[in-house]
């Protein structure tokens, strides 16, 4: 594979980074990343990964663009209201970088389809907004041995961790099980500032680039928390992988995907 003059120009600012170089750029160009959720987190992540030249980007989302999304979901624009998010996201990605192959997954991610969905990708980004999906993505990625980035945001807060199955603690190692519905913030409590999604989603893209290029230290074995009101970033060290974890212990209790269904807010 030979980088064209146009590619050398488009990616010049990262090719001249010693850690990336032409070698890293070629890796990015042949990499496949799946972004689950084309919302607040998925928007900046998809746009930065597209701009960086990740060869194939999968976008999974079953929702349509709503006016109330635009405050944080910057991959979509006002004229996209009512369109499928995967279509709107694809269009924006191609506008940024027509070289990217975009694969769209317009159905709802479920225990029935997720293993098939993630199987063709090198790295997965969790950009979902609910606990059942986060546990489903975690468990599926652990079972399939796929590295992924977990993230969550609410109000002025965000959290982020990278999971490399078999090597680092997973989401379930820390959070154990899907919280009961009444423990989950209600719509009234679930406000979020758009730039929080920008910060955390961009960090997810950063982890993806590092993982794909094999550089730096991944955010594994710890959880990064961000409190933007106080502007505190904390890196909380996590206990070792697998101890008593239902999915990533050496002898896991969970061996198949089921029981992730919980009605989402605003859905029948």
């Amino acid at each position: 594979m030979h980088l064209s003059n146009e590619q050398l120009e488009r990616y010049s600012r990262q090719i001249i980074l010693k850690e990336i170089g032409a070698k890293g750029q070629k890796r990015l160009l042949t990499s496949r990343v799946l972004i689950i959720g084309a919302g607040g987190l998925g928007s900046p992540a998809a746009m930065y990964l597209a701009a960086a030249g990740v060869g194939t980007i999968g976008i999974a989302d079953d929702d349509v663009v709503d006016l109330s999304n635009l405050q944080r979901q910057i991959i979509h624009a006002t004229q996209d209201v009512g369109r499928a998010k995967v279509d709107s996201a694809r269009e924006r990605i191609l506008a940024i970088n027509p070289e990217v192959q975009v694969e769209t997954w317009p159905g709802r991610v479920s225990s029935g389809n997720i293993l098939d969905m993630i199987s063709g990708y090198d790295f997965i980004l969790d950009g979902t907004d609910n606990f059942p999906s986060k546990f489903l993505i975690n468990d599926a990625c652990v079972m399939a041995g796929k590295a992924f980035s977990h993230a969550g945001i609410i109000r002025f807060q965000g959290q982020l961790m990278t999971v490399v199955p078999g090597k680092s603690p997973c989401y379930r190692c820390i959070f154990r099980d899907i919280p009961p519905q009444d423990a989950v913030p209600s719509c009234r409590e679930a406000g979020v500032i758009g730039s929080m999604a920008g910060v955390i989603g961009s960090l997810q893209a950063m982890e993806a680039v590092k993982y794909l290029c094999g550089i730096g230290e991944l955010l594994t074995g710890c959880l990064l928390t961000c409190d933007a009101l106080e502007m505190n970033f904390r890196k909380v060290e996590l206990p070792a992988r697998g101890k008593g974890c239902a999915v990533c212990a050496d002898e896991p209790e969970i061996r198949e995907l089921s029981g992730y269904e919980q009605p989402a807010c605003g859905r029948p």
Binding site: L3, N5, L8, E9, S12, I15, I16, G21, A22, K23
Partner: protein, 83 residues
């Protein structure tokens, strides 16, 4: 410069791009090569001839020779150092 004997292993033409891609193109070509191999960079006699040799030297590569092709272009001979 000019005293050391060398044979060119690879050639890259950066006359078709402008700064900073001139450097990026030469840099990427060197990255593909093995330590000790010699690259000939053909470049325009504008700012490029001022910038690229210095930038490659900064990267630790060894500049062996720069000569005027008498057609508005220059050839820079550089040996890859480090891997």
């Amino acid at each position: 410069m000019g005293e050391e004997t060398y044979s060119v292993d690879e050639t890259v033409d950066v006359t078709d791009v402008v700064c900073p891609v001139t450097f990026v193109k030469a840099y990427s070509a060197l990255e593909e090569m093995r330590e000790g191999q010699v690259l000939c960079v053909r470049m325009n006699g504008d700012q490029t001839v001022q910038d690229v040799p210095g930038s490659l030297k900064q990267e630790g590569h060894q500049i062996l020779k720069l000569f005027d092709n008498n057609d508005g272009t220059y050839s820079l001979i550089v040996r890859k150092t480090g891997d």
